[in-house]
């Protein structure tokens, strides 16, 4: 309690020049602040892992394990899968269609005569590729547009906001369908298919990145350090990319884990409707589920259950990580007994640059400390 009674109003927490790094300036009121953790400790996920306690940590760890297994399957599909994704026969003849699980085909074969296990493993690779391309594309386009729109403002900002809102409100799957028609006319080979699916997904997610980055840019634009940069004579692009962008990326990891999982779902949805990737070009879980739809009525379960579970698990893993990161970043949702050591770092990880707020009436630094104190009181 006594650690935070310093009023945030007035001259602000840190005496000017008292601390070498601006990040701690705002929160010198937290006297029990731990030493700055090592570089390893400050890595995004590692930091949260240390910050989390109890169930939160359990969920985060479970998510990380599932995601790791998924990524391993995807990267080493070639060595894990016993057969190719489009392989119909081996040395002892054709696989046969709709064969129940047996030692040679542990998860059976599909109606098209493919090995289910191999296609599930190869499917992880396709999903990961689409996910990575989609996220990279949407981060670049969405972040760039959001930054430009938020920092420059004016009519461009207004037009972009209206467009982004319109797209955001639209059913994402329908938009992805339209995009995949545009890009590939509905049929696709491997790279065309992956790119088409990724771009379709990107278009859906650009508005989300756009919104987040834009609102951060609008907020940071009015900070004093941006003004200082202007006074010094820094060029607009330099301020935008060096000062504003660096400070507005705090929420990105959260959106991107959540979007990664949605990308897998959208890809599967497209595949289920017949707009995915051809079965001979790559394995895709949604396509396999579509083909298994008629199997189910005759009691053939292995063609549907395994690709379906693969989707669920990969989405579950990534979402668990994203959810945990999200909860840990939101002080209101953090556990009531959030570790004191971790709550001290709130101001550091989030964008509350100490310097600019000095002299302001408490400002954000005050709020952050209030939150931290709140946690410790309970």
């Amino acid at each position: 309690m006594s650690t935070i009674t310093t009023p945030p109003s007035g001259t602000g927490g840190g005496a000017p020049g008292s601390s070498p790094e601006p990040g701690s300036g705002a929160s010198t009121s937290v006297s029990s602040r731990p030493a700055k953790p090592s570089l390893f400790g400050r890595l995004p996920v590692v930091h949260q892992l240390r910050q989390s306690v109890g169930l939160q940590r359990g969920m985060l760890v479970a998510g990380l394990i599932i995601t790791a297994v998924y990524v391993i399957c995807a990267v080493f599909a070639q060595w894990i899968a016993p057969y190719g994704f489009a392989q119909l026969r081996d040395a002892s003849g054709p696989f046969g269609s709709q064969q129940p699980p047996s030692p040679s085909h542990i998860w059976g074969t599909t109606v098209g005569g493919y090995d289910v296990f191999s296609r599930v493993i190869w499917g992880a690779q396709t999903a990961l590729e689409v996910m990575v391309v989609a996220i990279i594309l949407s981060i670049f386009v969405g972040v760039f547009l959001g930054l430009v729109s938020g920092y420059l403002g004016g009519w461009l900002d207004r037009v972009l906001v209206v467009i982004a809102d319109a797209i955001y409100a639209f059913p994402s799957l329908l938009l992805a369908i339209v995009m995949s028609i545009v890009i590939s006319g509905g049929q696709s080979n491997l790279y065309g298919g992956i790119l088409a699916a990724a771009i379709s997904i990107t278009v859906v997610y650009i508005p989300q990145y756009f919104r987040v980055i834009r609102s951060e840019a609008v907020r940071i634009k009015s900070e004093a350090f941006v003004e200082s940069a202007m006074v010094i004579g820094a060029s607009t692009p330099r301020i935008m990319f060096r000062h504003v962008l660096r400070n507005s990326t705090r929420t990105l990891p959260l959106i991107f884990t959540l979007n990664a999982s949605e990308a897998v779902l959208t890809l599967a949805g497209l595949g289920f409707l017949g707009f995915g990737i051809e079965p001979t070009a790559a394995a895709e879980w949604g396509y396999d589920l579509n083909k298994s739809l008629s199997d189910v009525t005759s009691g053939i379960w292995w063609t549907a259950i395994f690709p379906g579970l693969a989707i669920v698990l990969s989405v579950l893993g990534v979402t668990l990580v994203g959810e945990s990161l999200n909860d840990l970043a939101d002080p209101r949702l953090r556990g009531r007994r959030a570790v004191a050591a971790a709550s001290g770092t709130v101001a550091q990880t989030s964008v509350v640059p100490g310097g600019p707020l000095e002299g302001g009436p408490g400002g954000l630094a005050g709020l952050e400390d209030t939150e931290g104190g709140d946690d410790r009181d309970r």
Binding site: Q56, M59, I167, V178, S261, F272, G299
Partner: protein
């Protein structure tokens, strides 16, 4: 810490009330509704324009639909007859004009006006969405309250994983699983469709069919038909409802926990109000307000989900038709249905926003 809050609070409170009054003087609910209504127009306009130009980038719809089946001259004739060889801007303005008069074009593969398709199949989609919302409310809100009440305990963890599972399971896989369990293995529910053929015949004989099978079934007054229709609805409704239920659960949990941390709940707690009563009486209702707003955004998700659910269960609604036309590469029909859905989404969002503004005065800014 408390001194800190009391110091900061009056300032911000006074500030917010003055700005609030200023805005209130600027206009009340009426003005908000008008402004919000006018915002629909650019939304629809942008989406329709976007879809139109995107679809035309691929070439004309006739070639896409009939490309393999006609020879070059026949194809040219059809393209010319449909006017697809004119400048794209001319086509675009003609299309806008058509939409303004409620004409969304005619499908190529089976030559039906898109508006007829909407009238025939829209009711089925609405019915499904309605059932799904009921399931979502029944499952999502109570479980969200339970999760908030037991926050950070075992029950909370189980419910949160359940919510994530609801979201992580693609609707078509959930549908296939439910089908496998309840229709094939247990054999208690029908596999697909909206009603068995017998019931459909009985309902077609009605003088005024509404397209809502439940209403039609009640019109026949035949208990067998009613139960048949309801049994057919169970699996699709649960499939689509669980998707939304997971989101409701998370939302209710987050909001109730957020409300439980507010000053007035702290005050109630210090007066000795039990934790159960705090959740049930104090934190529950304010937490429901954001849900109303979120339902608006869920409409888009619900429609995406409906497309997949309908395809899984052969539920003959708009989504099922859309999937059929996609398969037939009939892009005029796709464009029409997509544009129509855009209008539906925009109007629903408007209604939801107005409802939220009526319930919660803070929204009217």
């Amino acid at each position: 810490m408390s001194s800190l809050i009391s110091e900061a609070a009056p300032e911000t409170a006074a500030e917010s009330t003055t700005t609030f009054k200023k805005q209130r003087n600027g206009g009340g609910l009426g003005r908000y509704i008008v402004v919000r209504f006018l915002l629909i127009i650019p939304t629809i306009f942008i989406l329709v324009t976007l879809v139109f130009f995107l679809m035309r980038l691929t070439g004309d719809p006739i070639t896409a639909a009939l490309g393999g089946r006609l020879n070059a001259t026949q194809l040219q004739e059809r393209i010319h007859a449909a006017g697809y060889d004119r400048p794209i801007l001319v086509q675009y303005f003609e299309y806008l004009g058509q939409i303004a008069t409620g004409n969304f074009g005619t499908s190529i593969s089976d030559n039906r006006p898109i508006t007829t398709i909407l009238v025939t199949y829209g009711a089925a989609t609405l019915e499904l969405a309605f059932y799904a919302l009921i399931v979502a409310f029944i499952v999502g809100i109570p479980l969200g309250l339970v999760a908030a009440y037991f926050r950070d305990k075992g029950q909370d963890a189980v419910l949160r994983v359940f919510a994530i599972l609801c979201y992580a399971t693609p609707v078509f896989f959930a549908g296939i699983l439910l089908k496998l369990i309840f229709s094939v293995w247990l054999n208690v529910l029908p596999v697909a469709g909206r009603a068995s053929t017998g019931s459909e015949f009985e309902m077609q004989d009605l003088p005024h069919t509404t397209g809502f099978y439940l209403i039609d079934a009640f019109q026949t007054g035949d208990p067998a038909v009613i139960s048949d229709v309801l049994l057919h609805a169970v699996l699709p409704a649960v499939t689509l409802g669980l998707l939304t239920a997971g989101i409701f659960l998370r939302l209710v949990r987050t909001n109730v926990i957020g409300t439980l941390n507010t000053d007035y709940v702290d005050a109630a707690r210090s007066r000795g109000v039990s934790e159960y009563r705090l959740v049930r009486k104090h934190a529950y209702k304010p937490a429901l307000i954001p849900i109303i707003t979120v339902i608006g955004l869920q409409i888009a998700l619900l429609l995406s989900g409906a497309v997949l659910t309908e395809s899984t269960f052969e539920w003959k609604g708009l989504g099922f038709q859309l999937a059929q036309y996609l398969g037939a590469r009939d892009f005029v029909a796709v464009q029409g249905i997509v544009a129509l859905l855009a209008v539906i989404v925009a109007i629903t969002n408007f209604i939801v926003d107005v409802a939220a503004a009526i319930i919660d005065p803070r929204v009217r800014y």
